[in-house]
Amino acid sequence: MSSSSSSTLPAAAAPASSSVMTVLGILAVAVLLVAPFGVYPVFLMKVMCFALFACAFNLMLGYTGLLSFGHAMFFGGSAYICAHTVKVLGFTPELGILSGVLFAAVLGFVTGLLAIRRQGIYFAMVTLALAQMFFFFCLQAPFTGGEDGLQSVPRRPLFGFIDISQDIHLYYMVLAIFLFGFLVIYRTIHSPFGQVLKAIRENEPRAISLGYRANQYKLLAFVLSAALAGLAGSTKVMVFQLASLTDVAWQMSGEVVLMTLVGGMGTILGPVVGAAVIVTMQNYLAGLGEWVLVIQGVIFVAAVSLFRRGIVGEIIAIVKYYGTKKAG
């Protein structure tokens, strides 16, 4: 991980182009505000949910250097809690989402306590094992509906008075949640806390020798990442009105790794782009029937062998390359 750090770090280039970034950011938000009038809103909401999920995951992999292979546990666990509280207990959407996030954070805390004692492949295996345990719990527990999942979760009015049964209204709720989550991650990465995380990623013994309690930092990052993954999972429940085993299965953990890698890990926008690419493929290739998997495979091979830093990572590298050439 430390060997590739110099090439994937966008932080070095950030101060010089921060005004450009602000303009681009405002532009992107403006596009997102009008997008549902041109593009199918449910599709956009799905992309945003997965983008938030991938960003939360990237906080662990890209900025703390820990590959968690169990993030589906937080995504799907929070989805089940949100679906159950809204459908059975009659919560309003914001309370349902909040309880989902809270559950994911607590689950993240417990998992984190156990997992961060190990690094590298052992960390990945511990998280995978815990996620599998959680998967079988969901398969057996009566309130999850087993194989069938929880369907027809009602879209009650937000805060009791904002009607979100229309897709277009719901879109703006999802957009607000997505931007909130994204800004939290952005702030985290650019805070002193984020700098310490990066220091731990680059060289943990040195960070410890400088007086930082690495394990506490890692645990906090893990809980934050889990809670944000939970936020994405709960929001997805409001979009699709269902929670199913797909969300907690290990394939979902794998999918988020792929989204992050295709987009570019350790870049703030990479996971968003990666999620958009993967979800678009799943959605628009569905009409091709059995060819979907073949095409997905080919695109992955191409992405891995041609853009090793991910799509956004490559673009940053190119911009930087021309930047230094001009300067020199």
Binding site: G146, Q151, S152, F240, S244, L288, G289
Partner: protein, 403 residues
């Protein structure tokens, strides 16, 4: 004022024009199923062909309907399935979705269909909740369900002398439900359940469970599992000589394509319940021959036959109404019209959306009895239509008024 008058005149003109030309009624049918995973064989492209065939046999064009058939792969994911369904209903103008195996996806699509007031005709999914507590005025469940399978297999086998049972049950909600329903039927008909064992899902080694089944001396070993678990347990039962030792296997969820991939040597002697078998009547054989010609020699499963039959009945209802736009009205019309088609014969669609027809108990042939590929089943018993499905008196569907 004048502007409004002009608009009024213009719109009435358009209205008259449309009525005079008698434009064909547009109908768009979406086949939503598994095209690449474990259910691709029993539905997949074969279901798409069956839907198109039904449109052709119905003579849609001559009857003033313009029917389009499209399809997509739900990848066995409920969220992919619902996003396709929503997109079809919202943007692509699909009026009806058909097939959709995988109970989780089916229940989700049924919810979306009700919200958008379209029509959902399910042939591939097993869950009896579709016409039970999750029933909607927009959903019709055509071919089979877990209740019918448990009931058919349990009752018919006990009547044929298989009165002691041992269950191999997949350890999750679906397996438990199958075991519970089947045990109930077995004991009600005078049989006895001598034991059962819960097997973890996606298990590879059934040896200890099969030895328990063998030592239980039960006449019937009931397989309350699905998919890969069923295939594995049947294969290993054959290796342990369960069937040669005089015990019989009863599969609770097995399709023709499963038997095909297992081979007769392994699957022989297996008892199973089905809604339809290609080599049963002349009409079935004719359909199967045409299916085989278009699908590389394969024979249709009951799910594919159900798609054909369901689409045919749907088109009849649309023809009667001259419009496919109001989903609930179309389904109400489907319930009003008696069903009658070459494959499933005469029947009805009940108030809860359940299509009623006879079910059949089959036994898988020995290799020596089979005349060739796809000649797999012998008919052991017919379960008459009025006994084959869950009676309305036991239904927990809100559409059924309890008197």
């Amino acid at each position: 004022m004048r502007l409004a008058a002009i608009f009024l005149a213009a719109s009435s003109l358009v209205g008259i024009g449309a009525a005079q030309a008698a434009d064909p009624v547009p109908v768009k049918i979406g086949v939503l199923n598994d095209q690449s995973g474990l259910y691709a064989d029993l539905g997949g492209q074969g279901s798409v062909w069956a839907a198109k065939k039904a449109v052709e046999d119905f003579g849609a064009a001559a009857k003033g309907l313009k029917v389009d058939v499209i399809f997509a792969d739900h990848q066995n994911k409920a969220d992919v399935g619902t996003s396709i369904a929503r997109q079809w209903y919202d943007i692509d103008g699909v009026d009806m979705i058909v097939d959709t195996p995988n109970s989780g996806v089916a229940l989700a699509v049924s919810g979306v269909t009700k919200e958008k007031n379209k029509v959902f005709i399910n042939s591939g999914a097993a869950t009896s909740d579709l016409t039970g507590k999750a029933c909607t005025p927009n959903t019709v469940h055509w071919t089979y369900d877990t209740w019918a399978l448990a009931n058919g297999t349990g009752k018919a086998i006990v009547k044929n002398g298989g009165d002691t049972w041992f269950f191999l049950t997949a350890d999750y909600a679906f397996g438990h439900a199958l075991e519970r329903d089947t045990s109930k039927v077995v004991t009600e008909n005078g049989g006895k359940v001598v034991g059962s064992v819960k097997v973890p899902l996606n298990n590879a080694d059934f040896s200890s469970f099969l030895l328990q089944a063998q030592s239980s001396k039960a006449k019937i070993v009931g397989l309350a599992n699905a998919g890969g678990d069923t295939i594995n347990s049947i294969k290993q039962a054959s290796e342990y000589g369960i069937v040669d030792g005089g015990q019989k296997l009863a599969g609770l969820l097995i399709f023709l394509t499963d038997v095909h991939s297992l081979g007769l040597k392994t699957a022989q002697g297996l008892n199973l319940t089905g809604a339809w078998y290609w080599d049963q009547t002349d009409a079935n054989r004719k359909f199967a021959d045409e299916f085989a010609k278009a699908n590389g020699g394969k024979r249709p499963t009951m799910v594919q036959a159900g798609v054909y039959s369901g689409v045919l009945h749907y088109l009849k209802a649309v023809e009667a109404l001259k419009s496919a736009k109001d989903g609930a009205a179309v389904v109400a019309e489907m319930k009003k019209l008696p069903t009658d088609d070459p494959l499933f014969g005469k029947g009805e669609v009940r108030i809860d959306g359940r299509h009623i027809h006879p079910m059949f108990l089959y036994e898988v042939k020995k290799p020596s009895e089979s005349k060739g590929p796809w000649d797999y089943y012998t008919l052991k018993a017919t379960i008459p239509a009025n006994e084959a499905f869950r009676p309305l008196s036991e239904s927990d569907c809100p559409l059924v008024k309890k008197g």
